[in-house]
């Protein structure tokens, strides 16, 4: 448990800049989720913090001490890799015990036994403890790989899409479990994901990366409701936010060139005509795929769902987000 501060962190591989001048403070006990498409620098950020990569410039400090020159072992971080990286020659039990047996932790035998058992129960892999790591299914491997981090009590847990290869149910279980571990132990986590639900449900803070730069950092709600650019707005929200010309609904005042409309930010009955192309019933909600001129819009249907494919509805925006011609948010104005 510790505060982790990145200041002016940069790293490039050859001519490719992976992380550019990153400043971020991960408060003690916070759960920070990094969002961004492939190649945005999320994994590199984790590797820089863990010490697997050396920063070109800038510094990483953990618990107030600059760790730039320390080895990964000295930094006291735990990491869950995207590709599991279980030791194939060891059993599940020994994989879980491996970090505890390290010369740095040097845990007693009974303590190892207890911790391994405890983590195995949380991750529902008690029955597989004596299997070789290579004899597991993908989901089981991923759980062992999470378990290998959880047996420790590190300064920070770094997790690189740890739930990506699990089935929906297990993912939901582990999401709750991770959240519980975070809440109970007060651990600090830095978590990379593509999954909006993971980001929204678990994070205390979300950092959005674009091409190696941290473009926005805030609470998940803040990122969702007040994105500072079209790019950030597109990172959260499913179905994705609709980006439309600002003058589509009415003549604009001022600098707005595009507006962003979340599917739930569309009201029906007044406004301009939209053609209903398709209706998707998802159970708890119904989505409408609308067409206005050349623009496709995805919207949430109002309760009662009176619309059919082929019909025409009148729509208008509610509290849209306005962006200028560079895609930057123009705060404080609406249409």
């Amino acid at each position: 448990m510790a505060e982790v501060v990145l200041s002016g962190l940069s790293k490039s591989f050859g001519r490719e800049a992976a992380v550019i001048d990153m400043n971020m403070t991960i408060d003690n006990g916070s759960f920070v989720v990094l969002l961004g498409p492939t190649g945005a620098g999320k994994t590199t950020t984790l590797r820089l913090i863990s010490g697997l990569e050396q920063a070109d410039s800038g510094s990483v400090s953990i618990d107030g001490r600059v760790v730039n020159t320390e080895t990964p072992a000295q930094r006291d971080v735990a990491m869950v890799f995207q590709q599991y990286s279980l030791y194939p020659h060891l059993s599940v039990r020994n994989n879980l015990a491996f970090p505890l047996r390290s010369p740095i932790l040097n845990t007693s035998k009974s303590e190892i036994e207890r911790k391994v058992q405890e983590v195995a129960e949380i991750l529902q892999i008690t029955g597989k403890l004596d299997n070789k790591a290579t004899e597991l299914s993908g989901g089981e491997m991923q759980r062992v790989s999470i378990g290998r981090a959880l047996v420790r009590d590190p300064a920070i847990y770094l997790m690189d899409e740890p739930l990506s290869s699990l089935d929906a149910r297990l993912r939901a279980d582990l999401r709750i479990e991770l959240k519980r571990i975070h809440a109970d132990l007060g651990s600090t986590l830095l978590y990379v994901t593509h999954d909006q639900i993971e980001a929204m449900t678990m994070a205390t803070h979300v950092g959005v990366l674009e091409a190696g730069k941290l473009v926005q950092f805030g609470s998940p709600r803040d990122i969702y409701e007040n994105p500072n650019s079209v790019y950030v707005a597109g990172r959260l929200g499913l179905p994705r936010i609709n980006i439309l010309p600002a003058d589509m609904f009415a003549a604009t005042s001022g600098r707005a060139s595009t507006i962003g409309l979340r599917p739930e930010h569309i009201s029906y009955g007044e406004g301009i005509d939209a053609q209903v192309k398709r209706v998707e019933h998802l159970g708890d909600q119904t989505r409408l795929h609308l067409q206005v001129g050349e623009h496709a819009i995805t919207a949430l249907s109002p309760a009662g769902n009176p619309y059919q494919a082929g019909s025409t509805v009148k729509i208008q925006p509610m509290n849209p987000l306005c962006f200028d011609e560079h895609g930057d948010r123009i705060a404080g104005i609406t249409l």
Binding site: S50, T71, P72, A73, F81, S85, Y87, P103, R148
Partner: protein, 312 residues
């Protein structure tokens, strides 16, 4: 008629099996003949037509391990009864055992030099291969090519410079000298083979170990080495076979204290005639260590020699 790619018919299996066994038997005949000869008496070994069925005798092995002197029948009669089977066999030829032969010592030299150089080649080769595989080394490709280039001519081509060097350095006819020489020849093979194996081991395992609190060397020792076991085993077999069978340098550089078995065995010829059973016994015993070593490591070997054929 239907064909299946995956499942051969029983007739095909039977045919293929017969073919393989037949081929194996044919290639094994010289080996079997040497083993058979080692259990013949000298007259049986040179009889014409050759004897396939004979009464086995240990005379070849006794002759291999002893030196003998001929004595007169009177002396022979005056001796106390033979103490063991070896003496009995020797006296049957009107001789007595004068002492042990040099074979035991030569065989031990082969074991020390063969396994010593194999160990050193694998030890240095694994470390070098790991470094080439994992670290950014300036001119790594050129260095690797240079290492390989030491095998681009037959090693014996440098025999004369090595002979002169060894004489100056006092390494001629020493165990250390032979171990260093065979290691120098084997190390290029070891580095190249092992680099291939270590390249195949994903770096993430070591990275995981580094984060789990281990140093790089501990990660290498606890994570990389166990996974490179297959490669190390098959490389060790190749190195041992070379060092064990090497003849030319052994003839040139050793004569006494460090002489290995290959140059020694032919010297049996000429000590009291062509003692084929003794030579065959020497060859048979000489085969055993490599055979045992290979059998011990056989489960690694198949994957080792088919390495690279199948992508995971």
């Amino acid at each position: 008629m239907s064909y299946s790619i995956t499942e051969p018919t029983s007739r095909q299996k039977w045919f293929a099996g017969t073919l393989v066994i037949l081929y194996a038997v044919i290639t094994m005949i010289p080996l079997l003949w040497i083993m058979m000869t080692s259990f013949k008496t000298p007259p049986d070994s040179i009889s014409y037509p050759p004897k396939v069925f004979y009464t086995p005798s240990l005379e070849g092995y006794v002759n291999l391990f002893t030196t003998r002197t001929r004595v007169s029948p009177e002396t022979l009669a005056s001796l106390p009864p033979p103490e063991n089977f070896a003496e009995e066999i020797v006296r049957g030829r009107d001789m007595v055992i004068a002492g042990p032969s040099k074979f035991g010592g030569r065989f031990l030299n082969s074991v020390i030099i063969g396994f010593g150089s194999t160990f050193l080649s694998i030890f240095l080769g694994t470390l070098a291969a790991y470094a080439f595989s994992r670290f950014k080394i300036p001119l790594a490709d050129d260095l690797l090519f240079f290492i390989l280039s030491t095998r681009m001519m037959p090693p014996i081509a440098v025999a004369i410079p090595i002979f002169l060097m060894y004489r100056k350095l006092g390494l001629s006819d020493t165990h250390l000298g032979m171990i260093l020489l065979y290691t120098a020849v084997n190390i290029s093979l070891a580095v190249w083979l092992l680099k291939g194996f270590i390249d195949e081991i994903p770096r993430e395992y070591e990275e995981a170990a580094l984060i789990d609190g281990y140093t790089r060397f501990q990660a290498f020792y606890k994570v990389v080495l166990p996974q490179a076991a297959t490669g190390i085993a098959s490389t060790a077999i190749f190195c041992l076979i070379f060092a064990w069978n090497e003849y030319a340098f052994a003839v040139l550089l050793t004569s006494g204290t460090a002489q290995t078995a290959p140059p020694f065995i032919p010297t049996i010829i000429g000590v009291g005639g062509l003692d084929w059973p003794a030579i065959a016994a020497g060859a048979t015993l000489f085969l055993l260590p490599v055979m045992i070593f290979t059998v011990m490591l056989r489960k690694h070997l198949l994957r080792g020699i088919t390495f690279g054929a199948v992508r995971k």
